[in-house]
């Protein structure tokens, strides 16, 4: 499909979300749309999908103007969209979800399940997106659910597929599978609009990149020649430092000591399997690994959110095994949770309230069971200033800040307390480039103040950039930590389960 957007403008009260956007997508092309959160990518795509109506501008498909009165029109015109949040019926099967609205029926309207199932299976195989048509959607992994969404669009014969942040929910392996499938679509002559704020992915899959900033296209680039640095600068609007500049670590005494730690889920499956390691004051130990290999339960167990089945965790020589979350936090542990929206913030609480979320009943923020709003607000003003949280005021609900600033809020709260150990889990996930840069600097600064830092990240680049020692989790077991430098290839192989002795023997020490 040849798609052209001409002068698309969309205004919301008080803000121009898209400002005279021109965009051309050639048949068989993967067109990357790059921009920070809030740059207007989703608005533009919702216009293209018929969910919003543009205030100005026109959409041309194969040279013909297209009028969109809703997603139905877009689908009819061959445009399919996979949203960031899936639009699936959890209790329906894969085939039922895919055929929803275009059901295959016998006479009298009885569903023809066998035929539905067969058609979906064929489509899945042809498209390189294997999925069991009869599985119930809510039982499937997120990555597989995404395939169902894509198949839904393909089944409706989408000639242009919009993928909105498709890799945000995927493991690196799943992302690679997705890229493979995308190449298959373009080989058939379909076009893809690929939305992401991750530079690397654009370079890996896009044929052409358009960069959106503040609602405007600020540049287009050829991914083969453009460097990540150039793209980042274009996206943010100023030079960005991608490499973390850090002095050599000065490790001191042991703060976190984990011995024979075992965690199981309710069904008795072992999630963390006999893990031993320690983190010293003044060093960053980074844990790499493909997501789902036990990093999440490990962090939850260390920070008092998960029951420890056996083994021991001590912080500064004091055992925190079996203690409540509150005890662990007050024992000098800072935690930047991986799921900011769920665990890190109360979106409807103000910035000030979120900044005392885990100190709400401690002096000086509370006296005689009464909140001391003056103290709380003064504290908030100081932290907002110190940690460069961009907010209209300290009374603004945290949920209205950008993702990066929400994360800075969490970082400010956790870093500012007197802590000996900092556990940061996926601290830059869903965060714009400018904030990533900032958070990385803060982690190093915290290390240099003499805090023990445990960083868990599925972003290999992040791990390698920040770690003083690196460990890898695979199937609940932890290998390492090994002192840096360790090569990216070596860590990658250990993430896939390779024996560390073998891998590291070839490494230059």
């Amino acid at each position: 499909m040849h798609l052209e957007l001409r002068g698309i403008t969309k205004r919301f009260p008080g803000v121009v979300a898209n400002d005279a956007v021109d965009l051309v997508v050639e048949p068989g092309q993967v067109h990357g749309l790059l921009g920070e959160n809030g740059a207007g990518k989703s608005t533009l795509m919702n216009i293209l999908y018929g969910l919003y109506r543009a205030d100005e501008g026109e959409i041309l498909v194969d040279g013909q103007p297209l009028e969109l009165d809703g997603p139905g029109d877009a689908i009819a015109a061959g445009i399919g969209m996979v949203h960031q949040h899936f639009m699936l019926v959890p209790v329906f099967t894969v085939a039922e979800n895919i055929l929803l609205g275009v059901e295959r029926t016998h006479q009298l309207g009885r569903l023809d399940r066998a035929r539905s199932s067969r058609e979906v299976r064929e489509l899945a195989e042809r498209s390189g997106l294997p999925v069991d048509p009869d599985a119930i959607v809510e039982d499937l992994a997120v990555g597989v659910q995404q395939r169902v969404e894509i198949l839904k669009a393909l089944y409706r014969d989408a000639r242009l597929l919009i993928l909105d942040e498709p890799t945000a929910v995927l493991t690196p392996q799943e992302a690679d599978d997705l890229f493979e499938a995308i190449r298959g679509f373009t080989a058939e002559g379909r076009s893809v609009i690929f939305i992401s704020h991750k530079l690397r992915e654009h370079r890996a899959i896009a044929d052409r990149i358009s960069v959106l900033r503040r609602g405007r296209i600020v540049g287009t680039a050829d991914p083969r020649t453009a460097t990540e640095q150039e793209l980042a600068n274009l996206m943010v609007g100023r030079p960005v430092e991608l490499v973390v500049d850090k002095p050599r670590a000065q490790p001191q005494d042991i703060v976190l000591d984990v011995t024979n730690l075992v965690v199981q889920d309710l069904a008795g499956t072992t999630l963390v399997d006999d893990v031993n390691f320690e983190v010293r004051r003044g060093e960053i130990v980074a844990v790499a690994g493909v997501e789902g290999n036990g990093q999440t339960p490990l962090v939850r167990a260390l920070t008092g959110l998960e029951t420890i089945l056996s083994g021991d965790v001590t912080v500064s020589g004091v055992s925190v095994t079996g203690r409540t979350r509150k005890d662990v936090l007050r024992a000098g542990v800072g935690h930047v949770p991986e799921d900011r929206a769920h665990d890190g913030l109360v979106a409807d609480f103000s910035v000030a309230e979120n900044l005392v979320l885990n100190l709400w009943d401690a002096e000086p923020f509370a006296k005689h069971a009464t909140l001391q709003f003056r103290e709380i607000d003064a504290h908030a003003k100081r932290l907002v200033e110190a940690y460069d949280v961009r907010t209209p005021s300290t009374a603004t609900p945290a949920g209205s800040l950008s993702g990066g600033n929400q994360q800075k809020l969490v970082v400010a709260r956790e870093f500012d307390r007197p802590i000996d150990l900092l556990v940061a889990s996926q601290p830059t996930r869903g965060v714009d480039v400018g904030s990533i840069e900032y958070i990385h600097r803060q982690l190093v600064a915290k290390r240099d103040q003499g805090t023990a830092v445990l960083l868990v990240s599925s972003e290999l680049d992040e791990v390698l950039a920040l770690a003083d020692r690196v460990a890898v989790m695979f199937h609940g077991r932890l290998v390492g930590p090994f002192p840096m430098p360790v090569s990216k290839e070596a860590v990658g192989r250990m993430m896939a389960g390779a024996d560390p002795d073998e891998v590291l023997s070839g490494e230059p020490r």
């Binding site: 680039a221 913030l345 979320l357 961009r390 949920g399």
Partner: protein
Amino acid sequence: MTDRHEDDPAGDPAESGPVALSEAEVARQEIEAAKEREAAITHLEPGAGFGKRFVAAVTGTSVLVTILSFVAAIVIGGVIIALTEPAVREAFGYFFARPGDAFREAWDVVSAAYVALFRGSLGGRAQISETLVSATPLILTGLAVAVPLRAGLFNIGAEGQLIAGGMLAGLVGFSVTGLPLVVHLPLAAAAGIAGGWVYGWLPGVLKARTGAHEVISTIMLNNIARLVTAWMISTTLFRRPDRSDPISKSVEASAQFPRFVDGLRVNTSLLMALGLAVFVFWLVERSTRGFELNAVGLNARAARAAGMDPDRTVIRAMATGGALAGAAGAALILGLQHRLTIGFSAGLGFDGITVALLGRGRIGGTVAAGLLFGALRAGGRSMQAQTGTSLDLVLVIQALIIVFIAAPGLVRAIFRVKADDLATGQVAKGWGS
């Protein structure tokens, strides 16, 4: 190399030339964007259940929408008054022959009813007294619903908690004798509050420990309270010794809330209600417990991650709600009725749900809504007496208010309130899925 649009304000960072977009400018833009979102976004965790979405929709409703809901309900109520009046219907029958008649008839009927409603609630000392009398238990049951609502819980059980509180307050009120007022009245009132506390604590524990949904358990507990009351009042423990009607003994004078003025029914239970409202305001809006309560209600996972105990907070919220409903029972029995009968609760606990919703779960709002509903009740009686408009109209208006508040999109559509366009879309979508 990157192509570049000529109007790109950023200059060419690849050559590390002068950066047009300064750091300060970026910060300013981020702040602007946050302001926009602050005005527009209703926050909900993805995958929030119906109850959460309902609570969020209610507590997230703006003051404007709340007032407009009330206005819309009054207007529709007026249409109903007009249409149920035979003379108006008759006049509409020949509408095209003489349209003025129809409108005059309708106007006369509706305005007469509403004037009576207004005069009956605020028209004089006695009327204001009646408004306050009706408002006292409504304020308390409203708070009984509002406090758990802030913790994300929907307390349908205020009715049962009110019954439990009233029964206990009454029991202490008539079976203990010989005490002075300063001892007996607080004792009886405390018994009522304790009865409601226990009756609210129970579904809280069931929710926290076993996951039993509070809506279901409180509905069931309402039934239990109602039936147990019916039985207990017939027992010799409660029943008047000289009569066989299911009416309890009368509360001793020493356990009755004294009236302010002879001849007016408004009594000191109003002071208890307002005092508790002030306490609850502190508890919910100013105390550390309230901080936990709100955090758990808005995001239980984040509350737990911050070191709070959501289970205990749920129990506390329900018990507090129960205690407030129990206080309503005490106010009713010790302040007004002075005896227990089957059905003495008269649905006040259920009205509390409407009051809390109209008050958007806020403490001040709930007190105001309680006063408003008290006025509607007192005025409704007078309207019935003077214009013959059925008392059920007041119930219709109450029900319409709930409908409009529960569906804020409807109000926005009717009145074309623009500002919250986006938020409505999100909430409405959430409801459908």
